[in-house]
Amino acid sequence: MPHLLTIAVSILFDGLAYAMFLFITSVGLSVTMGLMGFVNLAHGAFAMAGGYIVVSLTRSLGIDFVPSLLISAVVIAVASVPFERGLYRRLYKSTDLEQVLLTIGLAFMAIAAFTYFYGPIPKSVPLPSWLEGDINLGFRSFPSYRAFLILIGAILITILWYAFERTNIGAKIRAAVDNRRMAESVGINVDRLFTLTFALGSGLAALGGGFAIQLFGLTPYFAVLYLVLFLIVVAVGGLGSLKGTLLAALVIGIIDTGGKYMFPQAGNFFIYAITVIVLLIKPAGFYGRE
């Protein structure tokens, strides 16, 4: 049945691209939540801001799409540090509720500010010619934009895996996620580690936001609409686990794409259903610590 196979390959491919977007955007959230247990509902706002920076760079300054992505990621990474130092750190020891309120307040402010400057209409960006159209992979052709996203995702996974498992800083992060007090008592500066991962995570979120422009169309409400998805990936994968975040992103990306192919009217129903089922069975997620 060649027809079914074609559909299956398309679902797998689109699902994979979607999963890479989810992974890139959520991985920072997972690590920062795992480190400090901080519920950061403003993470989507950083992604949204990153997307708008890409829009400005490409449209107003005429910079190419790919360099714009990199610049935007760096800008957001740097810009997130004052937020962490000034606001977030006051609430590390507070209750979940206070963290939820502060960060959702920040997200609302960001939505309003970006609506004021960019308007509520979805934005798009000019793509270089090699990202438009299809790319032929021998047995069939795929949209090149998604293929590029999958490639970048694969590269980032490799880099992050190496950094996490093979470097000194990665070992410190893993130690701090496992047991923060113990890590502190052997002299790891968890505060500084947190600032570092927070900046890195926000930068990656900005990268994801940049990719999202062509996938979903960027509006200021991106900050809240997709936030729920990022949180789902983090919760289903398990806090602070790279492997878990990747697995959750793949499961959710592929099942959601498949669900939308076959039952277009179901919307996001499948995502929420998977979330509820996984969390009821494994409340700490796939690879979380119970």
């Binding site: 606001l87 979940d96 939820v100 402010m109 939505i111 500010a113 949180l231 969390l279």
Partner: protein
């Protein structure tokens, strides 16, 4: 408990125990300021007779915020999906009227409360074993799932276009819903009064004490043998029922309902109201909902963007400077003033 201090003598221990018992006994006595919100509500009717449609919406939001206060403020359950129960109630009366021809308003509200309460029992039984992020995500996912399910069956629920043309019988067989919302206002206020005194009773009961205990130290409550899960499910169901009743009133007074009642924004909004007024206190929802709704009415006409920025800023400032809400702030201020006045 001061009574368990080994160093104090038998007499002082007994005195302390008596004082604690006295406090618990007297805490629920009515004090005259408690009549104030209701007097203000009645005065409002005569001062703003042409704004009563808005007034009834404020009363409904007070009720919704009160239901959230019960679980968030007293039991410490952090939820961002409470709109689910508001929506269940709203659709219960809408569908009962449209499909079953059951348009009697008071029994509709009671029925919606029961349906939402039952949904609360089922959902609560599953999700209240968890805390923190997992619980938060489950509440969000549950509300979103209901919304998506409603959208899948939009032939039945009307989807995002809503169910228009709902008709409800005159209240108690006599009072028609009027254009100025006068009937709606008194109706909503009466339901709120009944619900409020029920909640007040619950909060001051030993059951309410146990909830506060669970919020403050769940491990200790487990270790003294309190049935934590059952208590949480019970209060969740009560809260869901009240939220459902608020939703039912919403549908009846607007004669209209859409799937947006399940929005994440709706859950966040009611939480903002509660936080603004102050959690874990009976009159927090009153202050919060009134101030929020009046400000929203005023500012969102000027500029919705500006208003959204304002909500965000209020939340950030509330967390940084007024963690106990406006009522908490007032309480602190009052205490400082009276201390200065005292010799």
């Amino acid at each position: 408990m001061a009574a368990s201090e080994p160093t104090s003598g038998a007499m002082t221990a007994k005195a302390a125990r008596d004082r604690a018992a006295e406090y618990l006994l007297r805490r629920h006595y009515f004090r005259w300021p408690e009549a104030l919100p209701w007097l203000i509500a009645i005065v409002c009717f005569f001062v703003f007779p042409d704004r009563m449609t808005f007034g009834s919406q404020v009363v409904i939001m007070i009720m919704f915020a009160l239901s959230l206060d019960l679980i968030l403020g007293y039991a410490g359950i952090v939820t961002l999906g409470h709109a689910a129960f508001f929506g269940v109630g709203a659709y219960t009366v809408a569908l009962a009227s449209l499909k079953l021809g059951w348009s009697e308003p008071v029994s509709g509200v009671v029925g919606a409360g029961i349906v939402a309460g039952l949904v609360g029992v089922i959902v609560g039984w599953f999700i209240l074993r968890y805390r923190g992020l997992t619980l938060l995500m489950l509440t969000i996912a549950f509300a979103a799932m209901l919304q998506e399910a409603g959208n899948i069956r939009s032939d039945f629920t009307g989807g995002y276009d809503g169910l228009p043309g709902l008709m409800f019988d005159p209240l108690l067989g006599h009072f028609q819903y009027d254009l100025y919302g006068h009937t709606a206002y008194w109706y909503a206020l009466a339901v709120l009064a009944v619900v409020f005194f029920f909640v007040r009773r619950v909060v001051y009961s030993p059951f309410g004490q146990a909830l506060t205990g669970i919020r403050e130290n769940v491990r200790r409550m487990h270790s003294i043998g309190s049935p934590v899960h059952r208590r949480l499910v019970t209060v969740y169901a009560i809260s869901a029922g009240i939220a459902g009743m608020a939703g039912a009133l919403f549908t009846q007074t607007n004669a209209y309902v859409t799937l947006t009642v399940f929005d994440f924004d709706a859950s966040a909004k009611v939480m903002v109201m509660l936080i603004l007024g102050g959690t874990g206190r009976l009159y927090g929802p009153f202050i919060g909902a009134v101030i929020y709704m009046v400000m929203e009415d005023y500012f969102s006409k000027l500029s919705p963007t500006f208003w959204q920025f304002g909500i965000g800023l209020m939340l950030v400032l509330a967390v940084l400077f007024a963690r106990r809400g406006l009522l908490g702030l007032a309480e602190t201020g009052w205490r400082k003033l009276s201390q200065r006045g005292a010799p």
